[in-house]
């Protein structure tokens, strides 16, 4: 064995790994340059804040989704879950508000309910998957239908709307800014940082990665696989709860179209960001960049009219594939 020979593929592999890690970021930078060239308004602070604020929902969910996917699972129900939580919150707050409780308290309780429901739904998923031994794909496909059906039933097919005063009291949670940056962006950043620490600096994070790489080996290593899995789904549910409590004040309503296709956007953000769909490895930074990238694409398409609106979805699909191509070679 000659050392040079073993070293050179190593070096090139390291290079490729580093480059593939940069894939989504390079894609995002390229998109931003393209956006600025197409419409100078793209590069304004206001537009940047708009894009980041609307990314917050999908981004926060995608952070939780990273854990689930990395442990080898999947959750298809997040969009429907968000819709049902939004609807339940509104019904709950309206009934409390009608009882004459102070609006601030009602809003705080509503936000609490959102987190509790998210964690509870996630826990139910986790238990069905681990104790019930049903494939995560099937469990969450089932709840995808169940959650949305219940919301539609609550709303009678129409929209559930938050009462006037509550809506006014609640709206700063979405619309207000701190140091010029909207609240949802702050929360998105906080969730992303917390997720990063949890994934890379704690035993739980390492266990998640170990289970995703090889569940059997993880079991032999005395990792409590079932518990960790249930916790990943609860974490995702909690993230959905956080996203929903930011979403409700935006329009003050929930309808059967709320959260439609969020699951695909969140999964796409995770995978575009470089997390392997089969589990085991991934990066939280990639997920955040992936989520931003997805909303930048539609933002640019809205800011220009060079191509027919009929082709918008094709552009989105094309960009996603190109970015995934940039980070190939990590399987």
């Amino acid at each position: 064995m000659q050392p040079e020979r073993t070293e050179s593929p190593n070096v090139s592999r390291r290079w490729r790994t580093a480059l593939s890690g940069l894939g989504p970021i390079l894609g995002l930078i390229a998109l931003c340059i393209a956006g600025t060239l197409l419409n100078p308004d793209f590069a304004t602070v206001d537009n940047l804040m708009n894009v980041l604020t609307r990314t917050a929902f999908i981004g926060i969910i995608a952070v939780g989704m990273t854990f689930v996917i990395m442990s080898g699972g999947i959750d298809l129900s997040v969009g429907s879950m968000a819709a049902l939580i939004a609807g339940s919150m509104i019904l709950f707050m309206n009934s409390l508000g009608a009882g004459g409780h102070p609006a601030t308290l009602v809003v705080a309780l509503g936000m609490g309910l959102s987190l509790v429901l998210g964690a509870a739904f996630g826990c139910a998923h986790g238990l069905l998957i681990t104790k019930g031994r049903v494939e995560p794909f099937i469990v969450t496909l089932g709840t995808l239908g169940i959650f949305r059906a219940f919301l539609t039933w609550f709303a009678d097919g129409g929209a559930l709307t938050l009462d006037g005063e509550l809506s006014d009291r609640y709206s700063p949670v979405y619309y207000a800014s701190l140091l010029g940056v909207p609240i949802p962006v702050w929360i998105f950043a906080a969730v992303a940082v917390a997720g990063g620490v949890l994934l890379n600096r704690t035993a739980f994070g390492r266990h998640v990665q170990a289970i995703g790489s090889n569940e059997q080996v993880a079991r032999y290593a005395a990792i409590r696989v079932d518990l960790v899995k249930v916790l990943t789904y609860m974490l995702l549910g909690l993230c959905v709860g956080i996203a929903t409590l930011l979403y409700v004040p935006r329009l003050g309503s929930a309808s059967p179209t709320t959260g439609l296709l969020w699951e695909l956007e969140a999964i796409a953000a995770v995978v575009v960001g470089g997390t392997a769909l089969k589990g085991g490895e991934g990066r939280l930074v990639g997920t955040v960049v992936g989520a931003i990238l997805l909303s930048v694409i539609s933002n640019i398409l809205n800011l220009t009219s060079i191509i027919s609106v009929y082709l918008n979805a094709a552009v989105q699909g094309g960009v996603i594939i190109v970015v995934a191509f940039l980070q190939r070679g990590r399987r």
Partner: protein, 317 residues
Amino acid sequence: MKSLIRVVGAGVLALSACTIFAAEKVTLGVAIPTATHGFTGGIVWWANQAKKDLEKAHPGLKIIVKTAGSAPEQANQLQDLLTVNKINALVIFPFESASLTKPVAQVKGKGVYVTVVDRGLTDTSAQDAYVAGDNTAFGKLPAEYLAKRLNGKGNIVMLRGMPTTLDNERYNAFMGVMKQHPDIKVLDAKYGNWNRDDAFKVTQDYLTRFKQIDAVWAADDDMAVGVLKAIDQAKRTDIKEVFGGAGAKGMVKTILDGKDKRIQADVSYSPKFIYDAIKLTAEARLKGEKLPATTIIPSVLITKENAKQFYFPDSPF
């Protein structure tokens, strides 16, 4: 077959006026899409309302309402209605035009009287009657209204629904009127998918892109909600008019109360037309009569003066 029934029906009518109601029992199947957004929610509500009202008024009438989540499901329901429920009249709001034409034609071939609502079939010989809202007026009335309010001069942005023939009809009607007003610039038209969230995002981007907008044609009351929120957030005061469409109860209430000066008018395209279609079909069939080949439920401009007659607080839409 159908004419045979009518001959028999007429014969019975001639023989004895007392027995006709017993003989001419009508079992009417209603096939509609499930409630997935405000408008279809309204369709389901009005269909059930029709069942309640009409079955009470006519003892010889039975109405069966089926909702479907997809075109194949609706086709299966048609077969069930025919073989299990033995319907002799059908009111259908087709999930899709093309894929339901054959299944409906089969039902009609078995002697069932078919009324098609809203989305026309690709082969009109598969239906006996067609009842629809007026999509041309849905686009034309807001265009004329906005042109008048802007005194024939200004910038308009618009939102579209989803890529469908129905949306194209509305869009073309709107643009047709705008051609006569060369000083009104239509800046752009993007899809908001008939939902509040997408309309919110598209409007945010319009506001970033265009510094002077005089009016927004939101083309749907749900989308108008998202449009208004986005304008409020950007604190823009240049937009004088926001025009929705369909006459959802929240929007009609806003007009009625004068709550928002940007919302002064709307155009009716009420899901109530399913109620009208069921009523017309049931009553005609009870008498053994036919409906005219095409019935268009007119779309009218809703303003503060007439808003009251379009306000249905119990309907979910």
